[in-house]
């Protein structure tokens, strides 16, 4: 990982966040251990991993809110440890379980942070109304935040980022604790941000949601990034193949014939008449042909897109049994 790139942090104009051997130690324990990544402009990047894997600490280092023990990170070309105000002026942050001043209304809460951002009075009120409209909180804008639901609070947090007109939005566990409807709405808002060219950094352990919005993900474990790439790339890395095809068919010797299809990794026999195979591409037509050729009765043929959940489960299962190959 450390190669010639190591020299010019954020050399490419497209890279908005670049971390080089970024490390954070608390006493003797290393919470973030020499991680490297580049995030390109306009990308939705997911930080995944179990609780305590170092995701939030990484985010706080990017914002200059916690000290960097070793290594470097550059955000929009600025060093957050040296020029925190420049970074914080351009980056919006929605913390995990965000809190607001409950005795103030949504407008008053936003007005306070807008003041801290240094916006003028006219600019403030105009941006706040626009942001509240976008997150659909305008009708309740003058109600105290104490009356807000969890989903409304998260949307209010997003409104703050919109008021800031942030170039990078960092969202820490934005959908945890939301009901499915609120989650969908929130993911739509994230997509809208992306459509505007905002780079989104998202940390989560809700895998299917991350899969739905993220262009690329980084998988954290014990302070290290163990895997990074698009979901399809990770699937090939971890599952050995991208597609899982399930066949339900009766007949003799079907498993053997399925295994012979080019591109098929392995075939598991789930029951007498059910088989699961992993393949590099969608092999359903070949599977159908193979079953028919064996004079079998084809009952069902289904394909699973590579799922982050499967990747995650497989990876951590393998890691626990100690048989993981170094994916880096």
């Amino acid at each position: 990982m450390s190669g010639p790139q190591n020299e010019g942090v954020a050399a490419s104009p497209d890279v908005v966040i670049a971390a080089r051997d970024l490390t954070r130690r608390y006493g003797k324990s290393t919470v973030v251990d020499a991680i490297n990544f580049n995030i390109a402009k306009g990308e939705v990047f997911g930080l995944l991993g179990p609780n305590g894997a170092g995701k939030t600490t990484t985010i706080l280092m990017m914002l200059g809110l916690t000290e960097i023990s070793a290594g470097r990170v550059s955000v929009l070309g600025f060093d957050p440890a040296r020029a925190p105000l420049q970074v914080k002026r351009r980056v919006g942050y929605l913390p995990d379980a965000v809190g607001f001043y409950d005795h103030l209304t949504a407008v008053e809460n936003l007005a306070y942070v807008a003041k801290l951002m240094g916006l003028s009075v006219a600019e403030r009120s105009q941006r706040i109304v626009a942001a509240l409209t976008r997150v659909r909180l305008l009708e309740v804008a003058n109600k105290r935040v104490a009356t807000y639901s969890r989903g409304m609070r998260q949307r209010l947090g997003l409104a703050e980022i919109i008021v800031k007109r942030a170039e990078i939005a960092i969202l820490d566990e934005p959908t945890s604790g939301l009901d499915p409807q609120a989650t969908l709405e929130f993911l739509d808002l994230i997509r809208e941000l992306k459509a505007e060219g905002v780079t989104v950094l998202l940390s989560s352990h809700m895998l299917d949601q991350v899969q739905r919005v993220c262009d690329r993900v980084a998988l954290f474990r014990d302070g290290r990034i163990v895997m990074m790439g698009s979901v399809a790339e990770l699937a090939v890395q971890v599952l050995g193949a991208g597609f899982v095809v399930e066949v339900e068919a009766e007949g003799a010797g079907i498993a053997r014939r399925l295994a012979a299809i080019p591109g098929v990794g392995n075939v598991e026999t789930l029951a007498e008449d059910r088989f699961r195979m992993t393949a590099e591409h969608d092999v359903r037509p070949d599977a159908a042909r193979a079953v028919v050729a064996a004079n079998g009765a084809l009952r069902r043929l289904s394909v699973d897109e590579p799922s982050l959940e499967a990747i995650y489960a497989r990876y951590f299962q393998a890691a626990q049994s100690g048989g993981v190959r170094d994916a880096a």
Binding site: P84, L94, Y101, Y112
Partner: protein, 320 residues
């Protein structure tokens, strides 16, 4: 290496928001009611007492502050007791409430330094107390005008203004302490209890403990006891130890400023008083000079406690 931008950027916004929160809070209303009602009772007693013997006292207005009529202590003594309560009430959850509401990381992700948040909050607390104390001070002068019917002289106003300034710094000591505790303890209840514990210890227990310690350090000499006077060493030690309490410093400074006849705050030898016209008031500047060490002590204590809190807060992790 210098950091970019001003450390005070955003401090104004924090100050205004916190001040409006403080002033509109129920907590502040209760504290104000407590202080105003107790102070009114003390003033009422003082006015009754003063009306009965309107001798030719040149500092009638100042007497309003210092006269005590059993069972109530004087107005100044009541303030010495209640100002800490007010400061602790405003300061005990200054920082930890931001942690607990989970607003801290969101606010610090705005383009401001932590200095601005801390300073804005501290100054808002101090301004709240200053406003209340100024209102109280105006009330005393107003009541004095109405019930005593004597217009205050320039020197009286000057002395009572010095009282106001020292009282604000005295509040600053306790506000700094409460803020420090709100940084150290994540739970507001713990911070409040520890602050109240320190307050009770310094205002109630310490004045009793200090003489005991002083006697242990410098045992009373039986020869002085036979003469019926206190051993000078013991007296000096007692006073030294008592001055560790801000309450004592405030009391001494008030005595010097509000009672113009006060010539010294410690024990003196008789020959040091040679030539002094006993009972004659000191000029204003001389009284201020007597109160100056105590005032500096209060200011220094405020700064030291604030800096301790500042350093801790800068190094604190923002995550909950």
């Amino acid at each position: 290496m210098r950091r970019e931008g001003s450390a005070f950027q955003g401090a104004g916004a924090v100050f205004i928001k916190e001040l409006s929160d403080n002033i509109s809070s129920v907590r502040m209303l209760m504290l104000e009611l407590l202080i105003v009602l107790t102070a009114l009772a003390a003033l009422y007693e003082a006015i009754i007492a003063l009306r009965q013997n309107t001798a030719e006292d040149p500092f009638l207005l100042l007497r309003l502050f210092t006269v005590d009529q059993a069972p109530l202590p004087s107005f100044v003594a009541i303030l010495g007791f209640l100002i800490p309560l007010m400061a602790i009430g405003l300061g005990f959850d200054l920082i930890n409430s931001e942690h607990n509401r989970r607003t801290l990381s969101r606010i610090l992700a705005q383009p401001i330094y932590r200095d601005a948040l801390l300073l804005g909050k501290y100054l808002a607390g101090l301004a709240t107390i200053a406003i209340s104390l100024t209102a109280l001070w105006l009330m005393v002068i107003g009541l004095g005008l109405i019930f005593l019917g004597v217009p205050p002289g320039g020197e009286e106003i000057a002395r009572s203004l010095v009282f106001l300034v020292i009282a604000i710094f005295y509040a600053g000591v306790w506000l700094s302490l409460a803020m420090l505790l709100s940084i150290v303890f994540r739970s507001p209840a713990t911070a409040a209890l520890v602050a109240l514990g320190i307050w009770l210890f310094l205002t109630v227990l310490w004045p009793m403990l200090a003489p005991a310690f002083a006697q242990a350090i410098a045992p009373p000499d039986p020869r002085y006891a036979a003469l019926g006077i206190d051993t000078p060493d013991t007296v000096i030690w007692t006073q030294l130890l008592q001055r560790f309490s801000p309450n004592d410093l405030f009391g001494e400074a008030m005595l010097a400023v509000l009672s113009p006849t006060t010539r010294t705050l410690g024990p003196v030898f008789l020959d040091q008083l040679r030539g002094a016209v006993m009972g004659a008031p000191l000029p204003f500047a001389q009284s201020v000079m007597i109160a100056w060490p105590q005032t500096v002590g209060l200011i220094a204590c405020t700064i030291v406690l604030f800096v301790a809190g500042y350093v801790l807060f800068q190094r604190q992790e923002v995550r909950a």
